[in-house]
Amino acid sequence: METNSRSTGRLPAAFLTPGSSSFWDFLGEHAPEQLPGNRTLPPLKGAVELPHGTTIVSAVFDGGVILAGDRRATMGNVIAQRDMEKVFPADEYSAVGIAGTAGLAVEMVKLFQLELEHYEKIEGATLSLEGKANRLSTMIRGNLGMALQGLAVVPIFAGYDTDRGRGRIFSYDVTGGRSEEKGFAATGSGSVYARSTLKKLYRSDLTERQMVTAVVQAIYDAAEEDSATGGPDLIRQVFPIVTVMTDEGFRLLPDSEVGPIAREVVDARRERPDGPQAPVL
């Protein structure tokens, strides 16, 4: 048991040392083997086939920000999972969506959620949105060794900045490099196509519902061009995961809200398979 590292059964000194409000730092000191980045990997020969998650899309609208993801996980040519969840609440006002090696990514999200909650409990105040984004940056950097061996995790972090009163998006690369995106962002293998769609459809004055539709259009286009991305599955009733952050906090849209929008998008594609058209000039 982790607390019994000294035979007395009392809390070890590391628990009672004041200072750090970071769970990540505490883990690094007390139980470094539990940090994902500290594992040593045996040398890999050739590509390892592991479940991968794919397309995450995010877009800012007036009053908030949307973060959405498709549901497919692939392992080489095989579809490993049809209903994977890749978008998670980080805390009350932010969410994180992940592309890359699924197992590592889910673990990183778990640790990130805990990091924010731990800080909040110890300090009695929440981190600023920038502070949260920087923390995630550090965590991705900690995974660099594995990323270079092909086990990369590339998230998007989106949240409502209560200080500035608007939604914000941060995208990352495998080295932990962080950049704030204006308007919209996408990551994962289908992100190229999703971004092209949003480029044509995005307007900052769209309402929340219109922006959800635009995001579903982007995921649909990504699914059409990228075999590792799954579109809305009307047969199995598996729809993209859509989350919305506003000044009222984090909200996961239920299937009863995403379903009708996804159906509308699919129905419109029956008329026009390539989706809505933008004017040439």
Binding site: E2, T3, T8, G9, R10, L11, A14, F15, L16, P18, F23, F26, L27, H30, A31, Q34, E92, K110, L111, L114, E117, H118, K121, I122, G124
Partner: protein, 264 residues
């Protein structure tokens, strides 16, 4: 080196216990009560920054009296213990019983170790369950013992008197406003039997509310919400500032349920 004077173990322990008890008795009390929807923590604490009541985990909260730096250390240790355990296993595997055991071991070891001064703290660890019968409240005195409490419990300076006052009047299924009123009444008891005035600004109130939709059931009750709750019951004894509050909808007997809490 000269031979130290012989002090019998009983005497040494009694001295340490008295030292700790004196330190604890200097502070104001904290009371913890079960009510219909959970557990309420009420502390007399004029500070808004230095809390006596805090969240530990989803369903677990912590209250303490005594020396601030000592119980703050224990609180942080508890948060780290709970978060590490939840990360290693699952969120459901973090229990008040486990945490109370770790605190008891820690306090007990420090109390009986000759090299360290005993902690001048008394803690309460409480966990809200699915129903009132599943609620757990543990009181941890300075020497590392654990007392399993039910209904209502007081720790701190005047805890014996406050505790017996609470025991006589507390009953199961109280509303939050009723429990809060009883808690404030009990805190007003002074050592010499006279009543003091306690206003909303001097109180730190928090609840573990089992009806909260969020996973984390802990919530502080602050500002206007606290004043509203305190004003819900007609103040019969020694009317505090609440009496001047408009009695629009609160006059018609005790409200059947506590006013809804605004979740942030």
């Amino acid at each position: 080196m000269s031979t130290p004077f012989y002090v019998s173990p009983q005497q040494a322990m009694a001295d340490r216990a008295e030292y700790a008890r004196k330190g604890i008795a200097r502070g104001r009390s904290v009371v913890v009560l079960q009510y219909a929807d959970g557990i309420v923590f009420v502390a007399e604490n004029p500070s808004r920054a230095l809390h006596k009541v805090s969240e530990i985990y989803d369903r677990i909260a912590f209250a303490a009296v005594g020396k601030y730096n000592e119980f703050e250390n224990l609180r942080i240790g508890g948060v780290r213990y709970a978060d590490l355990r939840g990360y290693t296993y699952d969120r459901d595997d973090v229990t008040a019983r486990g945490l109370a055991n770790v605190y008891a071991q820690t306090l007990g070891t420090i109390f009986s170790s000759v090299g360290e001064k005993p902690y001048e703290v008394e803690l309460i660890v409480a966990e809200v369950g699915a129903g009132p019968e599943d609620d757990q409240i543990y009181r941890l005195p300075h020497d590392g013992s654990i007392v399993d409490e039910h209904g209502a419990v007081a720790v701190g300076g005047n805890s014996d008197q406050i505790g017996s006052y609470l025991d006589q009047r507390h009953r199961d299924g109280m509303t939050l406003a009723e429990a809060l009123e009883l808690a404030v009444e009990s805190l007003k008891r002074d050592t010499n039997g006279s009543d003091r005035q306690i206003t909303a600004e001097q109180l730190e109130v928090a609840v573990l509310d089992r009806t909260r939709p969020q996973q984390r059931k802990f919530k502080r009750i602050l500002g206007s919400q606290l004043s509203r709750l305190l004003a819900t019951e007609p103040a019969e004894s020694s009317g505090a500032a609440e009496e001047s509050a408009p009695s629009s909808d609160s006059s018609d007997g005790p409200a059947p349920t506590a006013p809804p809490l605004d979740d942030e």
